[in-house]
Symmetry: C2
Subunit: 463 residues, 2 copies
Amino acid sequence: MLFSTETYVQRRQQLRELVGEGLILIFGNNEAPMNYPANAYKFRQDSTFLYFTGQHRDGLVLAIDCATGQETLYGDEIDIDDIVWYGSVTSVADMAAESGIARTAPLSQLSTLVAPKRVGGLHYLPPYRPDNTIQLMELLGQSRAEVMAGRSQSLINAVVKLRSIKSAEEIAELERASHIGYLMHTAAMRMATQPGMTEAYIGGQLDGIAASYGSIVSFQSIVSMHGEILHGYPSAAPLEPGRLLLVDAGAETREHYCSDHTRTTPISGHYTPQQRDIYDIVVACHDLALTHAKPGVRWWDVHMDVCRLMTERLKALGLMKGDTEEAVQAGAHALFLPHGLGHMMGMDVHDMEGLGQIYVGYDEETRPSTQFGLASLRFARRLEVGHVVTDEPGIYFIPDLIDLWQREGINKDFLCFDRINQFRNFGGVRIEDDVLITPDGCRFLGSERIPYKADDVEAWLMA
Amino acid sequence: MLFSTETYVQRRQQLRELVGEGLILIFGNNEAPMNYPANAYKFRQDSTFLYFTGQHRDGLVLAIDCATGQETLYGDEIDIDDIVWYGSVTSVADMAAESGIARTAPLSQLSTLVAPKRVGGLHYLPPYRPDNTIQLMELLGQSRAEVMAGRSQSLINAVVKLRSIKSAEEIAELERASHIGYLMHTAAMRMATQPGMTEAYIGGQLDGIAASYGSIVSFQSIVSMHGEILHGYPSAAPLEPGRLLLVDAGAETREHYCSDHTRTTPISGHYTPQQRDIYDIVVACHDLALTHAKPGVRWWDVHMDVCRLMTERLKALGLMKGDTEEAVQAGAHALFLPHGLGHMMGMDVHDMEGLGQIYVGYDEETRPSTQFGLASLRFARRLEVGHVVTDEPGIYFIPDLIDLWQREGINKDFLCFDRINQFRNFGGVRIEDDVLITPDGCRFLGSERIPYKADDVEAWLMA
């Protein structure tokens, strides 16, 4: 267990007070079969279950009765046959005691608990694993659609409220995750300039570093000479000198706190003048975000400031034209930046995305946009002390998108397609770090900064 | 696609002839969410779907109408928004053409196909992923229990018949997987003797090698100083000089053919006399299996021969006593070897275990046992040319099991508990390689043998 018993007890008490009434059920994850029932992927506990219990075993469910305050950990004990295969395992009772939960019961008793409580309100989070969905379907005697519709908004709101603000202890664990990210990215940068290297080999080594120092990559690593494909998975093709290699990758610690960084490395060791022109704009945007991020500021506004700067600089390169403010309002820059400036990060790399991005990144004051590009801004509301967000501007030349916009004349008053087409084979640049909002502004997470300014990257690759 | 279009066409034709009538549905795998819907584990296609189509994309279903021979690949196309995130993707029509499948249709049309065909017999394999279970529940309007009960025995039998015999092309791919296994195990052996090393670090590096040269580990690596726990996952504790480190690990190639090897390395670089006594017995058992394995021989009988040799040798060490044959028939040796000699291997590391182990490893002639130990023999029937099986004897000292048997007097006429208790802290030894049955006998898979004889291991660690 990462934190003290008292921490988990307090978190559950706060949750109960926020939800107020009814029965709260928080499902832990089960093993996820890969290619047959007994061959599972590496176990990954549900983040919310871990947040409220600290327990890593599969097959557990936490129940909290808001009226009485009674807490129960549901789970089945293992027997001697299992001990031969898996060794001695902490009993459900010992886990409950460690987490400060008074009662335990076998999973089969969950149905008797749920039935009479449904009148008073049953609170569960939207299931994202199909086995949990089936558990709920069978427990409630409902269809999948009914189960999905029945998720509790008050429980979602309460969990988001608690998990959004990272404690000092959590920040220490996030720093550990970022340190693993440092090891991953510096290794990838070194490998990128080695002859005969492939994206797939680098991607595999990133898996290895994440697993050796933590538990698993926080998402499938993006390792691509085609950085313009936002989620480009590694191919077996050898790296081509002259291209850029975009690596977007992160680790989870053994306690499942995440990191998420992106670097874009010149495979030849040096950026070409064209690459540097674009790269330097992304650096400037990245740095700008950090000067603007502080408590009370909306991340939406920081995103828009970054878009303005990017538009100014792309105009100077002859790639955009017209009035900057009009271009940004029209979303013309989204041809180059079709995603948002960043997202919240924590125990999930897109923190709590499974609860509904709109409840995490938006609120009554800040509402989402449907405009292409801006619609992909995952987090937009006012920053608070203890928020952790990613700062990840990028510029991409996406041939399919360029062709579509040029053909349909989209934002043609702001885009210089002749010049843009000179960059068709460019690929893409993204630079990403993880940022903690502090009372004074913000700071990076991690023990050491992964080199990111063009001169620093080139010097580091030469060293 | 790994093999030629013709190969997949032929496989499907054989399948259709074996099943004979009705509609065959083979479900491909979908993305498996890890901690929220959009954050999935590394995609792993279903082995049977891959065997009959060669296609790696998620969200596909293959339908074969046995009466008409009509084949349809069901799947949905991606749109421009997806292209921005994932790049251009092969269309369902192009995949079907590559695999020699005449028709394609969107997934939504699957329900119209299934409804009228159910009378003539609907054939599907037992689903092992809960999302496929839900797909079937909704398609058939049935409960989970009904869906599970409705799996087709004739389809299971047909798939087992085809996939059990590995072609020359498949063997070449299995050799590639074993080569990755060689790289993994030699790396682990080197790391095992380095000061300050942890099981978790080694386990992570194995993930990295498997992913760099192939796709993923073929199962969660077992890396443990407590080899007596048969599936002991790596802990963060530093390796202790004097103990043995058991590493049971394998890789999948990018085309999802597997390897599975075990080595047991002395952390100090040399086996103690006690360790070598036990280790040498396991080596002898491992070698014995190879001299007995050939077409027409039952793997059951090879397992029993190994048990006899093990019992003889354990008697010589004073750990067992009495008549060897009686001891083996009573299952007394299972205190030390509570599992079977090996299992079939192929596109699944326990090949086709999801279809039902009994249909893969047993037949009308060879029936499973319920005796402790022997009941865990996953494969027992007569060997045929083209079978690939693992040869993995082991000897373990499991304190919980020793205490149970001593307390209850189980097999006390054959077991010398006083002597056995001197080995309580020993751990366990297992040695495992992958074996192809040939017309003349058998041979190892892989380009180079991972050192396994005690002298060879020690010399190799010194080199």
